[in-house]
C-alpha cells in the first residue's frame, strides 16, 4: 500500500537514524557473543545489547508505519513488551543452567565459580545448616 518513496523527509530522517543505531547495536552484541572469553561474559551481549537494538528497530518500524499509513500504528509495542519480559528470563535461566553445569562438572576456574564464591567443597556439600 505504501512504499518508502512516499515517506516525507522529516520522517525518513529519524527512521533512518533509528535503523542505523539499532543495527549497529545488534552487530556489537553479536560481536561480543563471538569474541568474549567466558560464557558469563558472553551472555551480556544478547541480554543487553540485542534487547536495546531490538527496541530501536521496533521504534523505527512504529514511526515508519505511523507516518506512511497516516494513522497510529503501535502494535510493535507487543513485540517490544514481549522482548522486555522474556530477555531477562532467558538470560537468567541460561545462567542458572550454566552455573549448575559448572558446579556439577567441578570446574572451579570459570565465571561464577571463580574465586571460590560458589565453591562446592567436599565437607560443605550436603551438610545441613547449623541452627
Amino acid at each position: 500500500m505504501s512504499g518508502i518513496e512516499q515517506l516525507p523527509g522529516w520522517a525518513a530522517l529519524p527512521v533512518a537514524l533509528l535503523l542505523v543505531l539499532g543495527a549497529t547495536i545488534i552487530l556489537v552484541g553479536a560481536l561480543g557473543l563471538l569474541r568474549l572469553r567466558t560464557f558469563y561474559q558472553r551472555i551480556h551481549g544478547p541480554a543487553i545489547a540485542v534487547t536495546l537494538g531490538a527496541g530501536c528497530l521496533l521504534l523505527a518500524s512504529m514511526v515508519y508505519f505511523t507516518v506512511a499509513q497516516s494513522r497510529l500504528v503501535i502494535h510493535e509495542i507487543i513485540i517490544a513488551v514481549f522482548i522486555l519480559l522474556t530477555a531477562p528470563v532467558v538470560a537468567m535461566t541460561l545462567m542458572r543452567a550454566a552455573v549448575y553445569r559448572d558446579l556439577r562438572a567441578r570446574r572451579g576456574d570459570v565465571g561464577a565459580t571463580e574465586g571460590g564464591v560458589y565453591s562446592l567443597s567436599e565437607d560443605e556439600a550436603g551438610e545441613p545448616p547449623k541452627s
Binding site: 518508502i4 535503523l19 553479536a30 560481536l31 557473543l33 540485542v50 537494538g53 532467558v90 553445569r101
Partner: protein, 92 residues
C-alpha cells in the same frame, strides 16, 4: 531523502545478517552446550529483527506477524533447552 532511507535499510539488513553469521559461528564453535543454546537464542532474535527490517523495506504488515511467531517460538524453545540443560528433562 528516500535514498537516505534506502541506504539505512540496506545497512540495517547487512548488520543484522552479519550478526546472524556471528551467532552461527558461535553456534558451530561453542565449547559448551549452554554456549550453543545462547547462540541459538540470539539467532532467533536476529531472525525476528530481520523480519522487522524487511517489513520496513517492503512496507507491508505481514512481516509483523512473522516476527511475533518467530519471537514466541524462539522464547519457548530456548526456555525448553535451558531447562533440559539444567536438569536433564524438560517437564519434571
Amino acid at each position: 531523502m528516500e535514498t537516505l532511507l534506502e541506504l539505512a535499510i540496506g545497512y540495517a539488513l547487512v548488520c543484522v545478517l552479519a550478526a546472524m553469521v556471528l551467532c552461527a559461528l558461535r553456534l558451530l564453535i561453542g565449547p559448551s552446550a549452554h554456549d550453543r543454546v545462547l547462540a541459538l537464542d540470539t539467532l532467533w532474535m536476529c531472525g525476528m529483527l530481520l523480519a522487522i527490517v524487511l517489513g520496513v523495506r517492503f512496507g507491508t504488515q505481514v512481516y509483523f506477524e512473522v516476527a511475533i511467531l518467530v519471537a514466541l517460538v524462539g522464547f519457548v524453545s530456548t526456555l525448553a533447552l535451558a531447562k533440559f540443560l539444567m536438569r536433564g528433562e524438560v517437564i519434571e
